[in-house]
Symmetry: C2
Amino acid sequence: MSVTAAKGFTAAGVTGGIKASGKPDLALVVNQGPDAHAAAVFTSNRFTAAPVVWSKQAVADGRLAAVVLNSGGANACTGSAGLADARQMAEWAGAEVGCASGDVAVCSTGLIGERLPMDAVLNGIQLAAQDLSTSGGPSAAEAICTTDTVSKQAVHTSPDGWVIGGMAKGAGMLAPALATMLVVITTDAVVEPAALDAALRTATGFTFDRTDSDGCMSTNDTVILLSSGASGVVPQDAEFSEALTAVCADLARQLISDAEGSAHDIQVQVEGAATEADALAVARAIARSNLFKCAIFGNDPNWGRVLASAGTVDADYDPEHVDVAFNGVRVFVDGQLGADRSGVDLTGRDVLVELHLHAGEASAAIWTNDLTYDYVKENAEYST
Amino acid sequence: MSVTAAKGFTAAGVTGGIKASGKPDLALVVNQGPDAHAAAVFTSNRFTAAPVVWSKQAVADGRLAAVVLNSGGANACTGSAGLADARQMAEWAGAEVGCASGDVAVCSTGLIGERLPMDAVLNGIQLAAQDLSTSGGPSAAEAICTTDTVSKQAVHTSPDGWVIGGMAKGAGMLAPALATMLVVITTDAVVEPAALDAALRTATGFTFDRTDSDGCMSTNDTVILLSSGASGVVPQDAEFSEALTAVCADLARQLISDAEGSAHDIQVQVEGAATEADALAVARAIARSNLFKCAIFGNDPNWGRVLASAGTVDADYDPEHVDVAFNGVRVFVDGQLGADRSGVDLTGRDVLVELHLHAGEASAAIWTNDLTYDYVKENAEYST
């Protein structure tokens, strides 16, 4: 399962003592080769956490031999001392697994603005290195959780003999250009770094970038893709890209399903847009409307709030000719009242909101959550 | 008080029967002259409510003799039938007060997507016309309330002998380019329509446009300014503009203080920006962060969430050199940890968050609210 599903990878997840709770807090993923190819995408937030600064440099040459990840502290907004800590993590991990520190990516998640307890981090790295195994994926996925209630893993097996597996964490700050949200994906397919990078950007563009639980972007978002080439199989570019996108979509869906305090998973689907950019802009505006999100929490098919949100976007469409449907019931048709809203059942967890703009052939979806008492509770009482 | 503070205006607020609750739901404001000058600004939402469509035309010539306003129904997304209803309201009101329907502006607020009960509207217009008086301002302010817990009024008296008075409603959907938010402001100063328009755009640009309680923009937002010239005094442009801005700021502040379910009034002040547009963009990003708003609800001076929001904005500043202060306590200084967050007291209603970008001399503020259980409750259970 997870990051050890593909051949050529070992992993471990352990309790180093970073979290006061005593829960697992350090994970190690090691690429045993023969290849050490890698690609990554990072948060576009300008307050970039130290591990992101480090990992961007580490992956710049298309090579990574290992990833060390911790929960219990984001190592963000910690200045030059925090950057030294991130580098130290890479050095310790590199020494344990026998690679250069420059081939180790670092990921951190947890509270912003506090230094990591480096004794506990070192302890965790040493324990994890001893515990590395080809069945360590699930424990690694467990160790990167913060407010997640379940760990997230996904696997795709190609009939041609190669595998893609991944793990993800993140239950808050899921947003536009990723979330905190740490994702590590491994494959034993034989893929060159440039192709890995292209496939990863395509996959994240269609999945994590369209996952917007609460509109808040993290300082630490990272998605790393490692290939060992251990299957010996060179996949078709298109097939590999499609499989990677499917794995990312699976993980993204798991993130939404476990988002902090959420009661509904909402797909905002915009059809009939003049361009995909228009469709995305409208879908994102709806997905970010707190009034809309509260209505869904209240099981209220409030199409007025859908329109009021769409109406803030400068996309190419005529407000007089749009349709809105909730779970397939068209409550607003061609700019007029449609089916009675009493015919809509929103009591299930999954909600599909469709807006048809009648302006073209393009479409796009954003996945989001409702806004609930529990979201407020968790984020008023828990510092991140 | 309110819209009858200035000479030359009568008003009334009555119960026509539009609201099921039996509370006041129809208001009339009449300009007795000698001038009938007017200016207005409206929502930039593309799903424009019927009364907004009507009122835009009515005020286009810089003249209005009366404004008829109802709560209990927004007359938005109601198609051509709704537009006919808005016109009918203007005709009825014009007939009652003795002016052309084309000189009557119409404002509606309440549920989107339902036709108004026109019998009740007519009843209200007739009752209000009988009840018009120079002391009717407070009852008019009462009649336009929806989820508002108190009516909002403001008055400015110039030592030169002219007065500006206004009323406002709106407790939800307070947002970027206005809110539902209906505002009527009257003055007895002698001011030509073009000058009224310029002063109103300046005033709303600095006040209502920077009031962003929950990031949601309404289909019905309207601010109308009427001048009777009854004082016979021609004010200095600058003095009039300043006074009008003060009245708008007073009303905007009252809207924030009464925003749905809010527990804190937050001023997000950005200093040291390269441009005012940069300052506004950063302030608005912070004011729209649900994580930030939840933290304030929890009395948590969470500067990490302030920075994470600011970091999503493409403004000209260096993330390594910013300061953040909560209620005057600088918890983050020059990109490093500052004073201990335990020194910050957020238990009061007013919260000042200051972000200094050290990139220039420009500054701007956005006024917003926290995100609370009661906001979710009110907007999950109440359809708007």
